[in-house]
C-alpha cells in the first residue's frame, strides 16, 4: 500500500446529495482505480461547506483547492489534469480565487474569510461517519477535561460565564437553564436536544448533524454530567433522513468506544443517548410539545410554569437545548469562556449560523460573529442581490420573525439590537428580498405556514391566525378595505399577548413587522388595488398597447381564450375573463403587452 498523498473530501450533506454528489464520489473511485491511483488518493464524505448555491462541492488536499458545481462528467478531467498532471481545473473554481503557482495555496473569497466557523468547525473538514477523525480534531477532549478535572457546578459556571444564549430562537442563557435543572433534587433527570428545526428554509441544525454528529453527542454527555442526568434524547425531525443516519452511526461508534454507556472512559460516569423521531409537526419544535411527543403523547404545548428544568420529561427535571447551542459546548469547555467571549458582542457572545436564502448570490450556510452588520452579510459574504435588483428587506427568524427593511441594513445582528428594531434573531433563517417581492405576500406566506401547523389547542392561534390569513388573502386578492388593516393589527396584537406557546405568540410577527415597515404597500393593495412589487396576480392587469402587430400569438396561447382581434389588427384582452396568468405577456414578440 503506497503513501496516501491526497485526500478528496466531497460534500455529502442533503443539499449536495440531491445534486448527485454521491455519483461524483462513485465516479472518482472508478477513475482512481482505472488510473492506478486508488492507493495514493483517498475519497471521503464530508459535511456542508456552506456555499450551497455552488454545489456539489469538493476539496482536494494537501493543496486545499475547492471545486464548485462538480458533476459526474467533470471527474475524468479532475483526475487526469489535477491528480496526474498537476494542472488545476480553473473552470471549476470560484472566480475570485488566486493561486500560488507551486504550492497552490489559495486565497479564499470573502464568503469564507469573513466567517468564523465555530459550531460548523468540523463541517467540511472531517468524515462524519468516522469517529476517529472527530477525535483527531480534539474530539472528546472536552468530555475528558470535564470528567477528570471539573465538578458539575464548575461546568455550569463556565457555560454561564461564556454568555452562551440559546441558538434555537429564544436566546435564553444556557448556563442559567442548566443551573435551574442542577438545583433540583430528583432521582432521575434528562437532557434533550431539539433537532426538530421547523422553520422553513432553515438548515443550520441539519448541517451540523450531518457534518459533525459527534459534537452533539459529546455536548450532551457534558450537559448530563453538569445537571446530574444520565439519559439523553435527541429529537430529530423525520424529514432529515441523512442526519438520522449519521447520528445512528455516530452513536454506535461512540458506544463501541465506551464514550457512551455505563462507565465512560473508565471514570465511572454513566450516560446513555437515544434518538426520537418527529413526524412532520412544526409545533413539536416547541419545547413542551416536544417533550409531550417523546412521552408518546400528541405534541401540544402546555402552560409554564412549571418550566421543564423543574418538571419536564416524564415529570422530571429536564434541559432542552438546540443543536447549534450544543455544538458550541465542547469548544467553550476546551478553550474556556474568555476565548468564546472574544467573538460577538457583550450580551450576545460567540457566533451564529445563518441559512441565507432568497434573492442573494451566495445562498447557503454562513457562521458569523454576533454583531456583524446585515450589510456585511448581504454584500460582502452574500455576494449581493443578483440581476442588478435593489435590496428591499431581509426576513429574519422565519414564521416567528420580523423583517429588516433596507433603511436598517446597518443593524448589528445580535439578540438585543434586533429586538430594538422590532425583529427577532430566531433560529437563523435569513431570507433576502428585492424590489420584486411583495411584503404583504410575504406576511401571507408565513401565516399560511403557521395556520397549517397550528396544533389547535388555544383559541388565539387556532382561530386568530386563521382570521389574519383570511384578511391577508382578501387583501392580496384585491378585495381588501381600510378597516381590514385595523382589524389585522388588532388581531395581531391580541394573539401575541394571549396565545399559549411561543409559536402562537410570535406568529403575528411577520404581519406586525410588515405593517410597521411597509404600510404604504398595504395601502396600495387596499386603496389603489395595486401591488407595487408587481407580484400579486389579482392586482395585476394586462392590457395590449399600440405596438401590437396583430400576429395573434397571444390569442393562441391564452388558456381562457379571452383575447380577440383580427390578423394584423390591434388585439384586445377581455378584462372580465382574464385570469392574469401572464402567458400572453411572455409570448408577445413585440413586448406590446403592458403589465400594471
Amino acid at each position: 500500500m503506497e503513501f496516501n498523498r491526497s485526500q478528496i473530501l466531497v460534500c455529502a450533506g442533503t443539499g449536495c446529495t440531491s445534486s448527485k454528489s454521491a455519483d461524483v464520489r462513485e465516479e472518482l473511485n472508478k477513475e482512481l482505480v482505472k488510473n492506478h491511483l486508488d492507493n495514493q488518493v483517498q475519497i471521503m464524505k464530508t459535511g456542508c461547506f456552506g456555499l450551497c448555491a455552488e454545489g456539489p462541492i469538493l476539496v482536494i488536499y494537501p493543496e486545499g483547492i475547492m471545486y464548485h458545481r462538480v458533476g459526474k462528467d467533470d471527474v475524468k478531467e479532475i483526475v487526469e489534469e489535477h491528480l496526474i498532471k498537476g494542472r488545476i481545473v480553473k473552470r471549476l473554481m470560484h472566480d475570485s480565487e488566486e493561486l500560488d503557482e507551486i504550492t497552490h495555496k489559495i486565497e479564499h473569497s470573502d464568503f469564507f474569510t469573513k466567517q468564523r466557523r465555530v459550531a460548523l468547525r468540523n463541517c467540511g473538514k472531517i468524515d462524519p461517519e468516522d469517529i476517529n477523525e472527530y477525535i483527531a480534531f480534539d474530539g472528546y477532549k472536552a468530555l475528558e477535561k470535564v470528567l477528570t478535572t471539573m465538578t458539575p457546578q464548575g461546568v455550569i459556571n463556565v457555560i454561564k460565564d461564556s454568555g452562551l444564549r440559546g441558538r434555537g430562537g429564544g436566546g435564553f442563557p444556557a448556563g442559567t437553564k442548566w443551573q435551574f435543572a442542577a438545583d433540583q433534587e430528583s432521582d432521575q433527570k434528562y437532557v434533550v436536544c431539539n433537532a426538530d428545526e421547523g422553520d422553513p428554509g432553515a438548515f443550520m441544525d441539519r448541517s451540523i448533524l450531518e457534518g459533525d454528529p459527534n459534537s452533539i453527542i459529546e455536548a450532551m454527555a457534558i450537559s448530563g454530567y453538569a445537571i446530574g442526568a444520565n439519559q439523553g434524547y435527541i429529537y430529530v425531525r423525520a424529514e432529515y433522513p441523512i442526519a438520522i443516519e449519521r447520528l445512528k452511526i455516530a452513536i454506535n461508534q461512540a458506544k463501541e468506544y465506551g464514550l457512551l454507556g455505563d462507565n465512560i472512559l473508565g471514570l465511572g460516569f454513566k450516560f446513555d443517548l437515544d434518538m426520537r423521531l418527529g413526524a412532520g409537526a412544526f409545533v413539536c419544535g416547541e419545547e413542551t410539545a416536544l417533550l409531550s411527543s417523546i412521552e408518546g403523547k400528541r405534541g401540544v404545548p402546555r402552560l409554564r410554569p412549571p418550566f421543564p428544568a423543574v418538571k419536564g420529561l416524564f415529570g422530571k427535571p429536564t434541559i432542552i437545548n438546540n443543536v447549534e447551542t450544543m455544538a458550541n459546548i465542547p469548544v467553550i469547555i476546551r478553550n474556556g469562556a474568555d476565548r468564546f467571549k472574544e467573538k460577538g458582542t457583550k450580551n450576545s457572545t460567540g457566533t451564529k449560523v445563518f441559512a441565507v436564502g432568497g434573492k442573494i448570490t451566495n445562498t447557503g450556510l454562513v457562521e458569523i460573529p454576533m454583531g456583524t452588520s446585515l450589510r456585511e452579510i448581504v454584500y460582502d459574504i452574500g455576494g449581493g442581490v443578483p440581476n442588478g435588483k435593489k435590496f428591499k428587506a431581509a426576513q429574519i427568524g422565519g414564521p416567528s420573525g420580523g423583517c429588516i427593511p433596507a433603511d436598517n441594513i446597518d443593524v448589528k445582528i445580535d439578540y438585543d439590537s434586533l429586538k430594538e428594531i422590532g425583529a427577532m434573531m430566531g433560529s437563523g433563517g435569513l431570507i433576502i428580498m428585492d424590489e420584486d417581492t411583495c411584503m404583504v405576500d410575504i406576511a401571507k406566506f408565513f401565516l399560511q405556514f403557521t395556520v397549517d401547523e397550528s396544533c389547535g389547542k388555544c383559541t388565539p392561534c387556532r382561530i386568530g391566525n386563521k382570521r389574519m390569513l383570511e384578511i391577508l388573502t382578501k387583501i392580496t386578492d384585491g378585495r381588501g378595505e381600510l378597516q381590514d388593516l385595523e382589524d389585522l393589527r388588532d388581531l395581531a396584537e391580541i394573539i401575541s399577548e394571549t396565545a399559549l406557546c411561543g409559536l402562537g405568540q410570535t406568529a403575528p410577527n411577520p404581519v406586525l413587522s410588515t405593517l410597521d415597515n411597509f404600510y404604504d404597500e398595504y395601502l396600495a393593495h387596499v386603496v389603489d388595488k395595486k401591488c407595487p412589487a408587481g407580484s400579486c396576480k389579482s392586482l395585476i392587469s394586462y392590457t395590449i398597447g399600440e405596438d401590437c402587430i396583430g400576429c395573434t400569438k397571444c390569442a393562441r396561447v391564452c388558456p381562457v381564450s379571452c383575447i380577440s382581434g383580427e390578423k394584423k389588427e390591434q388585439h384586445v384582452i377581455d378584462q372580465s375573463q382574464c385570469i392574469k396568468c401572464g402567458t400572453c405577456f411572455d409570448a408577445c414578440p413585440k413586448d406590446a403587452i403592458i403589465r400594471g
Partner: protein, 120 residues
C-alpha cells in the same frame, strides 16, 4: 471501552493521517508533471517518493504534483519546500536518487547539493 490514553493514541495517529487538512507546518514536496514531466519519467519518481515516505513512516510531509513549465533537459524536477518555506529544486531526478533526497533533506534537513544547482 477506551481509556483516556487510548483515546490520545487515536488522536495522535488520526492527526498524522489527516494533518494535510490542517494548518500544521510541514515539508512540501512537489513533483513537476505535465506531459513533458511524465514523458521524462516523473511518474516513476513520484511513485518511488511515495514508497520511500511510507517505508520511513514519515509524518507532516505533503506530496503534490504541479504543472510543468518546460524545463527541458532538467526534468524530472522535484521541489522540496521546508517548514520555513525555503525552496530547493532537485533536477534530473530518478527513482534511484529519491531515497537519498528523502534521507538527507526531508529527514535530516540538509539539502543534497549534488542533485541541485540551488545549493553550493
Amino acid at each position: 471501552m477506551k481509556t483516556i490514553s487510548e483515546l490520545e493514541e487515536i488522536r495522535v495517529k488520526g492527526l498524522n493521517e489527516i494533518s494535510m487538512r490542517t494548518e500544521r507546518e510541514a515539508v512540501r514536496v512537489v513533483v513537476k508533471m505535465g506531459t513533458s514531466g511524465i514523458a521524462a519519467g516523473a511518474q516513476d519518481v513520484l511513485n518511488a517518493l511515495l514508497k520511500e515516505i511510507k517505508n520511513k513512516d514519515l509524518h507532516d510531509v505533503y506530496v503534490s504534483v504541479t504543472d510543468c513549465a518546460i524545463e527541458g533537459d532538467l526534468e524530472p524536477v522535484v521541489i522540496v519546500i521546508d517548514k520555513k518555506g525555503k525552496k530547493v529544486n532537485y533536477v534530473n531526478m530518478t527513482p534511484e536518487k529519491v531515497a537519498t533526497v528523502v534521507e538527507e533533506h526531508i529527514v535530516n534537513g540538509r539539502a543534497y547539493s549534488e542533485y541541485t544547482t540551488d545549493v553550493k
